[in-house]
């Protein structure tokens, strides 16, 4: 794959990112190609060293900077075999910190969901009470209570949407980081 083909594929894969970010990424890749060519490498060699455009685009989408990606590529090129310390770290870290934190966050999301369900149930009860005339003496405070509960529901829905989205995103990145440490070690050397 030459430079033009590689950049075209990468641009297609980056499609959903903001235009400015795509421009910055393409520029940094072009500079990388130019540096490689001036060092006597062929376009095909440089493209191969960058790896699959789809994977590269995914890394950019996860917010990884170009320098970090290149450092990782260099690390995997110099990789001599699995690092035992990295694997021990993954096991110990997940056993005592990682998995617990993710379960705790999941529990918070489930709690917010239950709270939202209770909120709707409470609104339903008050509305039923107002319609049937059981709460005739406290109509005004209960109307305000319904409005408050509706606002709480809106807040919880926003919180849940963002929470679930970033939980999934974070978990995905966390698993990828674990895989990386498991395969390539902690990279301290």
């Amino acid at each position: 794959m030459n430079k033009t083909e590689y950049l075209k594929k990468l641009t297609n894969e980056l499609g959903h990112m903001p235009y400015g970010d795509v421009q910055d990424i393409i520029q940094s890749i072009e500079e990388h190609f130019e540096e490689g060519i001036s060092a006597g490498r062929s376009e095909e060699e440089i493209a191969a060293s960058l790896g699959d455009p789809k994977e590269l685009a995914m890394e950019f989408k996860d917010g990884v900077k170009f320098k970090q990606i290149m450092k990782k590529r260099k690390m995997s090129d110099n990789f001599k075999g699995p690092d035992g310390r990295g694997r021990i770290f993954v096991i110990v870290f997940n056993a005592f910190v990682g998995i617990e934190c993710w379960i705790l966050l999941l529990a918070a999301i489930i709690a917010a969901f239950c709270f939202l369900a209770a909120d709707f149930a409470f609104i339903g009860l008050i509305v039923a009470g107002l319609i049937t005339g059981t709460l005739t003496e406290f109509i005004l405070p209960f109307i305000f209570l319904i409005l408050t509960l509706i606002c709480v529901a809106v807040f919880l829905v926003a919180l849940l949407i963002l929470g679930i989205k970033y939980y999934a995103k974070g978990l995905k990145s966390y698993i990828r980081w674990n895989k990386n440490v498991w395969n390539y070690g902690l990279g301290e050397e």
């Binding site: 405070p141 305000f144 408050t148 709480v152 807040f155 949407i161 963002l162």
Partner: protein, 59 residues
């Protein structure tokens, strides 16, 4: 963070602010209403009856 997420975050923040604001108004309204009820309540009569019962037990 995407623009859509920021909008959602702002919506959530506004909803939380309104919930607090309306919550305080609700509490005040309940307090006023219950206060009114308490003022209307026949405390003397109620405690008078209890006093009588206590007196009988004492005797």
């Amino acid at each position: 963070m995407e623009k859509k997420d920021i909008k959602l975050l702002i919506t959530g923040a506004i909803a939380l602010f309104l919930a607090c604001f309306l919550g305080i108004i609700t509490l005040v309204l309940f307090a006023v209403k219950l206060g009114g009820k308490a003022m209307e309540y026949d405390w003397k009569g109620a405690f008078g009856q209890t006093d009588g019962v206590v007196q009988e037990i004492g005797d």
